[in-house]
Protein backbone atom coordinates (compact mmCIF):
# COMPACT_ATOMS: atom_id res chain seq x y z
CA UNK A 1 0.00 0.00 0.00
CA UNK A 2 1.54 3.36 -0.98
CA UNK A 3 1.50 6.45 1.21
CA UNK A 4 -1.30 8.11 -0.74
CA UNK A 5 -3.65 5.15 -0.45
CA UNK A 6 -2.64 4.63 3.15
CA UNK A 7 -3.46 8.27 3.95
CA UNK A 8 -6.76 8.17 2.07
CA UNK A 9 -7.96 5.24 4.15
CA UNK A 10 -6.75 6.87 7.34
CA UNK A 11 -8.61 10.10 6.55
CA UNK A 12 -11.73 8.15 5.57
CA UNK A 13 -11.90 6.70 9.04
CA UNK A 14 -10.79 9.85 10.87
CA UNK A 15 -12.38 12.69 8.92
CA UNK A 16 -14.18 12.29 5.59
CA UNK A 17 -14.48 16.08 5.57
CA UNK A 18 -10.70 16.57 5.46
CA UNK A 19 -10.39 13.80 2.90
CA UNK A 20 -12.75 15.71 0.65
CA UNK A 21 -11.00 19.01 1.33
CA UNK A 22 -7.71 17.47 0.22
CA UNK A 23 -8.96 17.28 -3.36
CA UNK A 24 -9.12 21.09 -3.54
CA UNK A 25 -6.13 23.23 -4.33
CA UNK A 26 -4.31 24.52 -1.29
CA UNK A 27 -3.99 28.10 -2.47
CA UNK A 28 -0.29 28.81 -1.93
CA UNK A 29 1.69 30.03 -4.93
CA UNK A 30 5.25 31.12 -5.59
CA UNK A 31 6.59 33.92 -7.81
CA UNK A 32 7.11 32.89 -11.41
CA UNK A 33 10.33 30.90 -12.02
CA UNK A 34 11.04 31.02 -8.29
CA UNK A 35 12.61 27.58 -8.16
CA UNK A 36 14.63 28.19 -11.34
CA UNK A 37 16.49 31.08 -9.77
CA UNK A 38 16.64 29.93 -6.16
CA UNK A 39 20.03 28.20 -6.43
CA UNK A 40 21.62 31.35 -7.89
CA UNK A 41 20.13 33.44 -5.09
CA UNK A 42 21.46 31.08 -2.43
CA UNK A 43 24.97 31.10 -3.90
CA UNK A 44 24.87 34.86 -4.29
CA UNK A 45 23.90 35.11 -0.63
CA UNK A 46 26.81 32.92 0.39
CA UNK A 47 29.29 34.88 -1.73
CA UNK A 48 28.17 38.23 -0.37
CA UNK A 49 28.44 37.04 3.22
CA UNK A 50 32.20 36.40 3.59
CA UNK A 51 31.95 34.19 6.64
CA UNK A 52 29.77 31.81 4.70
CA UNK A 53 32.00 31.38 1.68
CA UNK A 54 35.03 29.85 3.31
CA UNK A 55 33.50 27.51 5.83
CA UNK A 56 32.60 24.63 3.59
CA UNK A 57 35.35 22.10 4.10
CA UNK A 58 35.10 19.07 1.86
CA UNK A 59 33.97 15.90 3.57
CA UNK A 60 37.10 14.16 4.79
CA UNK A 61 37.75 11.00 6.62
CA UNK A 62 39.88 11.05 9.78
CA UNK A 63 42.74 9.24 8.06
CA UNK A 64 42.96 11.89 5.36
CA UNK A 65 42.93 14.62 7.99
CA UNK A 66 45.68 12.84 9.97
CA UNK A 67 47.84 12.40 6.87
CA UNK A 68 47.43 16.07 5.98
CA UNK A 69 48.36 17.03 9.52
CA UNK A 70 51.51 14.93 9.41
CA UNK A 71 52.51 16.35 6.02
CA UNK A 72 53.04 19.70 7.70
CA UNK A 73 56.00 18.26 9.60
CA UNK A 74 57.62 17.11 6.36
CA UNK A 75 58.00 20.68 5.15
CA UNK A 76 61.70 21.77 5.61
CA UNK A 77 60.90 24.62 7.98
CA UNK A 78 58.73 22.49 10.29
CA UNK A 79 61.03 19.47 10.03
CA UNK A 80 64.01 21.61 11.14
CA UNK A 81 62.04 23.07 14.04
CA UNK A 82 60.88 19.62 15.14
CA UNK A 83 64.44 18.22 14.92
CA UNK A 84 65.76 21.14 17.01
CA UNK A 85 63.16 20.61 19.70
CA UNK A 86 63.90 16.88 19.86
CA UNK A 87 67.67 17.56 20.08
CA UNK A 88 67.23 20.04 22.93
CA UNK A 89 64.92 17.67 24.77
CA UNK A 90 67.31 14.73 24.35
CA UNK A 91 70.33 16.72 25.53
CA UNK A 92 68.44 18.10 28.52
CA UNK A 93 67.32 14.65 29.59
CA UNK A 94 70.91 13.33 29.26
CA UNK A 95 72.31 16.03 31.56
CA UNK A 96 69.44 16.21 33.99
CA UNK A 97 68.95 12.47 34.53
CA UNK A 98 71.92 11.85 36.92
CA UNK A 99 70.59 14.46 39.33
CA UNK A 100 67.39 12.51 39.77
CA UNK A 101 68.91 9.13 40.51
CA UNK A 102 68.52 7.70 44.06
CA UNK A 103 72.27 7.49 44.65
CA UNK A 104 72.35 11.28 44.98
CA UNK A 105 70.86 10.84 48.42
CA UNK A 106 74.13 9.21 49.50
CA UNK A 107 76.58 11.12 47.31
CA UNK A 108 76.20 14.25 49.39
CA UNK A 109 76.85 12.51 52.72
CA UNK A 110 79.91 13.23 54.81
CA UNK A 111 81.77 10.47 56.62
CA UNK A 112 80.08 11.43 59.91
CA UNK A 113 76.69 11.22 58.28
CA UNK A 114 77.52 7.79 56.86
CA UNK A 115 78.45 6.64 60.33
CA UNK A 116 75.23 8.00 61.76
CA UNK A 117 73.21 6.42 58.98
CA UNK A 118 74.76 2.98 59.57
CA UNK A 119 74.04 3.18 63.25
CA UNK A 120 70.43 4.13 62.63
CA UNK A 121 69.90 1.31 60.10
CA UNK A 122 71.90 -1.48 61.68
CA UNK A 123 68.77 -3.54 62.33
CA UNK A 124 68.04 -3.70 58.60
CA UNK A 125 71.27 -5.56 57.83
CA UNK A 126 71.78 -9.28 58.15
CA UNK A 127 75.03 -11.11 58.55
CA UNK A 128 75.23 -12.17 54.88
CA UNK A 129 75.15 -8.56 53.80
CA UNK A 130 77.91 -7.72 56.20
CA UNK A 131 80.02 -10.55 54.80
CA UNK A 132 79.48 -9.21 51.34
CA UNK A 133 80.52 -5.70 52.38
CA UNK A 134 83.58 -7.05 54.03
CA UNK A 135 84.64 -9.09 51.04
CA UNK A 136 84.08 -6.42 48.45
CA UNK A 137 84.91 -3.20 50.21
CA UNK A 138 86.67 -3.92 53.40
CA UNK A 139 89.12 -6.67 52.57
CA UNK A 140 91.40 -5.72 55.45
CA UNK A 141 88.75 -6.10 58.14
CA UNK A 142 90.00 -7.91 61.20
CA UNK A 143 86.58 -9.12 62.26
CA UNK A 144 84.65 -11.88 60.55
CA UNK A 145 81.02 -10.73 60.71
CA UNK A 146 79.74 -14.31 60.63
CA UNK A 147 81.44 -14.87 63.95
CA UNK A 148 79.96 -11.78 65.56
CA UNK A 149 77.35 -12.28 68.22
CA UNK A 150 73.98 -10.70 67.33
CA UNK A 151 74.48 -7.65 69.56
CA UNK A 152 77.87 -6.84 68.12
CA UNK A 153 76.74 -5.92 64.63
CA UNK A 154 76.45 -2.33 65.76
CA UNK A 155 79.98 -2.44 66.95
CA UNK A 156 81.20 -3.89 63.66
CA UNK A 157 79.40 -1.23 61.65
CA UNK A 158 80.87 1.40 63.89
CA UNK A 159 84.32 0.12 63.05
CA UNK A 160 83.90 -0.09 59.29
CA UNK A 161 81.90 3.10 58.84
CA UNK A 162 85.01 5.21 58.44
CA UNK A 163 86.07 3.15 55.44
CA UNK A 164 82.75 3.19 53.60
CA UNK A 165 82.15 5.64 50.82
CA UNK A 166 78.72 6.86 49.67
CA UNK A 167 78.73 4.49 46.66
CA UNK A 168 79.13 1.45 48.91
CA UNK A 169 76.45 2.73 51.23
CA UNK A 170 74.04 3.02 48.30
CA UNK A 171 74.73 -0.60 47.34
CA UNK A 172 74.08 -1.84 50.86
CA UNK A 173 70.71 -0.19 51.22
Amino acid sequence: MNNQEDLRKELQSLSPFLELLKTEKEGFKTPENYFDTLADEVFWKMRTEPELTTVIPPRKYWRTQLEEGLKIFLQPRWALALASVLLILGTSIFFIRPFFQPRDAFAQLSQDEIHQYLMNHAQELDRETLVEITEQHHANAQIDPLLLPEGNIDQYLDEISNDLDPETLEKIF
Partner: protein
Protein backbone atom coordinates in the same frame (compact mmCIF):
# COMPACT_ATOMS: atom_id res chain seq x y z
CA UNK B 1 23.35 14.85 -15.14
CA UNK B 2 19.59 14.08 -14.99
CA UNK B 3 18.21 14.72 -11.51
CA UNK B 4 16.29 11.48 -11.31
CA UNK B 5 19.43 9.34 -11.41
CA UNK B 6 21.51 11.29 -8.92
CA UNK B 7 21.93 9.39 -5.68
CA UNK B 8 22.98 10.72 -2.26
CA UNK B 9 26.38 9.07 -2.76
CA UNK B 10 26.94 10.82 -6.08
CA UNK B 11 25.97 14.17 -4.59
CA UNK B 12 28.21 13.64 -1.57
CA UNK B 13 31.12 12.70 -3.83
CA UNK B 14 30.68 15.96 -5.73
CA UNK B 15 30.44 17.91 -2.48
CA UNK B 16 33.74 16.50 -1.22
CA UNK B 17 35.80 18.10 -3.97
CA UNK B 18 36.18 21.89 -3.93
CA UNK B 19 35.96 21.99 -7.72
CA UNK B 20 32.62 20.19 -7.84
CA UNK B 21 31.09 21.41 -4.56
CA UNK B 22 28.82 23.96 -6.18
CA UNK B 23 27.65 21.51 -8.82
CA UNK B 24 26.88 18.96 -6.12
CA UNK B 25 24.93 21.43 -4.06
CA UNK B 26 22.96 22.66 -7.05
CA UNK B 27 21.96 19.07 -7.74
CA UNK B 28 20.98 18.62 -4.12
CA UNK B 29 18.83 21.74 -4.30
CA UNK B 30 17.20 20.73 -7.56
CA UNK B 31 16.19 17.44 -6.01
CA UNK B 32 14.78 18.72 -2.74
CA UNK B 33 14.15 22.47 -2.87
CA UNK B 34 10.47 22.30 -3.82
CA UNK B 35 9.46 19.88 -1.09
CA UNK B 36 11.50 21.85 1.43
CA UNK B 37 9.87 25.08 0.32
CA UNK B 38 6.33 23.76 0.73
CA UNK B 39 7.19 22.25 4.08
CA UNK B 40 8.48 25.63 5.27
CA UNK B 41 5.73 27.65 3.58
CA UNK B 42 2.99 25.71 5.36
CA UNK B 43 4.69 26.50 8.64
CA UNK B 44 5.39 30.20 8.13
CA UNK B 45 2.50 30.90 5.72
CA UNK B 46 3.87 33.87 3.78
CA UNK B 47 6.12 33.49 0.75
CA UNK B 48 8.69 36.10 1.74
CA UNK B 49 9.16 34.44 5.11
CA UNK B 50 9.34 31.00 3.51
CA UNK B 51 11.95 32.27 1.05
CA UNK B 52 14.12 33.65 3.87
CA UNK B 53 13.82 30.51 5.95
CA UNK B 54 14.52 28.24 3.00
CA UNK B 55 17.62 30.21 1.99
CA UNK B 56 18.92 30.11 5.56
CA UNK B 57 18.22 26.40 5.66
CA UNK B 58 20.14 25.79 2.43
CA UNK B 59 23.07 27.95 3.50
CA UNK B 60 23.24 26.05 6.78
CA UNK B 61 23.08 22.74 4.96
CA UNK B 62 25.90 23.82 2.63
CA UNK B 63 28.04 25.01 5.52
CA UNK B 64 27.57 21.86 7.54
CA UNK B 65 27.46 19.22 4.83
CA UNK B 66 30.76 17.84 6.20
CA UNK B 67 28.90 16.95 9.39
CA UNK B 68 26.46 14.75 7.50
CA UNK B 69 27.25 11.25 8.74
CA UNK B 70 25.11 9.29 6.32
CA UNK B 71 22.97 7.79 9.10
CA UNK B 72 19.87 9.05 7.30
CA UNK B 73 19.14 10.12 3.75
CA UNK B 74 20.10 13.62 2.66
CA UNK B 75 16.40 14.34 2.27
CA UNK B 76 15.69 13.45 5.91
CA UNK B 77 18.68 15.49 7.06
CA UNK B 78 17.51 18.54 5.06
CA UNK B 79 13.98 18.19 6.42
CA UNK B 80 15.32 18.28 9.95
CA UNK B 81 17.21 21.50 9.23
CA UNK B 82 14.17 23.01 7.53
CA UNK B 83 11.92 22.07 10.46
CA UNK B 84 14.31 23.55 13.00
CA UNK B 85 14.76 26.73 10.96
CA UNK B 86 10.99 27.12 10.66
CA UNK B 87 10.47 26.65 14.39
CA UNK B 88 13.26 29.12 15.16
CA UNK B 89 11.67 31.64 12.82
CA UNK B 90 8.23 31.19 14.39
CA UNK B 91 9.70 31.46 17.85
CA UNK B 92 11.42 34.76 17.00
CA UNK B 93 8.30 36.02 15.30
CA UNK B 94 6.21 35.01 18.31
CA UNK B 95 8.50 36.98 20.62
CA UNK B 96 8.23 40.05 18.41
CA UNK B 97 4.42 39.81 18.10
CA UNK B 98 2.46 42.27 20.17
CA UNK B 99 -0.90 40.59 19.68
CA UNK B 100 -2.27 37.36 21.11
CA UNK B 101 -2.48 34.11 19.15
CA UNK B 102 -6.25 34.56 18.78
CA UNK B 103 -5.70 37.98 17.22
CA UNK B 104 -3.01 36.52 14.95
CA UNK B 105 -5.43 33.82 13.83
CA UNK B 106 -8.15 36.37 13.22
CA UNK B 107 -5.74 38.54 11.20
CA UNK B 108 -4.52 35.59 9.17
CA UNK B 109 -7.58 35.76 6.91
CA UNK B 110 -6.86 39.37 5.99
CA UNK B 111 -3.17 38.64 5.48
CA UNK B 112 -3.90 35.71 3.19
CA UNK B 113 -6.47 37.61 1.16
CA UNK B 114 -3.95 40.40 0.68
CA UNK B 115 -1.13 37.99 -0.17
CA UNK B 116 -0.40 37.98 -3.89
CA UNK B 117 1.00 34.46 -3.54
CA UNK B 118 -2.19 32.98 -2.12
CA UNK B 119 -5.32 32.32 -4.13
CA UNK B 120 -7.14 29.81 -1.95
CA UNK B 121 -10.84 30.05 -1.26
CA UNK B 122 -12.63 30.79 2.03
CA UNK B 123 -12.56 27.19 3.17
CA UNK B 124 -8.81 27.02 2.65
CA UNK B 125 -8.39 30.17 4.69
CA UNK B 126 -10.39 28.55 7.48
CA UNK B 127 -8.20 25.50 7.29
CA UNK B 128 -5.07 27.67 7.59
CA UNK B 129 -6.60 29.41 10.58
CA UNK B 130 -7.39 26.09 12.20
CA UNK B 131 -3.79 25.02 11.67
CA UNK B 132 -2.38 28.10 13.38
CA UNK B 133 -4.27 27.10 16.53
CA UNK B 134 -2.48 23.74 16.71
CA UNK B 135 0.66 23.37 18.79
CA UNK B 136 3.65 23.79 16.45
CA UNK B 137 4.81 20.19 16.54
CA UNK B 138 1.29 18.90 15.99
CA UNK B 139 1.01 21.24 13.03
CA UNK B 140 4.25 19.87 11.59
CA UNK B 141 2.94 16.31 11.94
CA UNK B 142 -0.35 17.27 10.28
CA UNK B 143 1.40 19.03 7.38
CA UNK B 144 3.85 16.22 6.76
CA UNK B 145 1.09 13.63 6.74
CA UNK B 146 -1.81 15.48 5.15
CA UNK B 147 -0.08 17.62 2.54
CA UNK B 148 3.20 15.86 1.94
CA UNK B 149 1.78 12.35 2.36
CA UNK B 150 4.89 11.26 4.19
CA UNK B 151 4.89 7.80 5.76
CA UNK B 152 4.93 7.63 9.55
CA UNK B 153 8.29 5.91 9.42
CA UNK B 154 9.86 8.75 7.39
CA UNK B 155 8.26 11.26 9.75
CA UNK B 156 9.75 9.37 12.65
CA UNK B 157 13.20 9.68 11.06
CA UNK B 158 12.78 13.41 10.50
CA UNK B 159 11.25 14.30 13.86
CA UNK B 160 12.85 11.67 16.07
CA UNK B 161 9.44 10.69 17.47
CA UNK B 162 7.95 7.20 17.64
CA UNK B 163 5.49 6.09 14.97
CA UNK B 164 2.81 5.54 17.63
CA UNK B 165 3.20 9.04 19.01
CA UNK B 166 3.02 10.50 15.51
CA UNK B 167 -0.18 8.62 14.71
CA UNK B 168 -1.73 9.87 17.93
CA UNK B 169 -0.57 13.41 17.15
CA UNK B 170 -2.08 13.33 13.66
CA UNK B 171 -5.33 11.92 15.04
CA UNK B 172 -5.57 14.74 17.62
CA UNK B 173 -4.76 17.35 14.98
CA UNK B 174 -7.50 16.09 12.66
CA UNK B 175 -10.07 16.11 15.48
CA UNK B 176 -9.11 19.65 16.53
CA UNK B 177 -9.45 20.90 12.96
CA UNK B 178 -12.86 19.28 12.62
CA UNK B 179 -13.92 20.84 15.90
CA UNK B 180 -12.72 24.26 14.71
CA UNK B 181 -14.78 23.94 11.53
CA UNK B 182 -17.88 22.95 13.50
CA UNK B 183 -17.44 25.77 16.01
CA UNK B 184 -16.90 28.45 13.35
CA UNK B 185 -19.70 27.26 11.08
CA UNK B 186 -22.22 30.03 10.38
Amino acid sequence: MPISVVSDEQILTLLQEPKTQEQGFRLLMQQHQERLYWHIRRMVIEHEDANDVLQNCLVKAFRSIHKFEGKSSLFTWLYRIATNESLTFLSKKGRRATSSIDDETANLGNRLRADEYFDGDAIQIRLKKALTLLPEKQRIVFNLRYYEEMSYQDMSDVLGTSVGALKASFHHAVKKIETYFKETEN
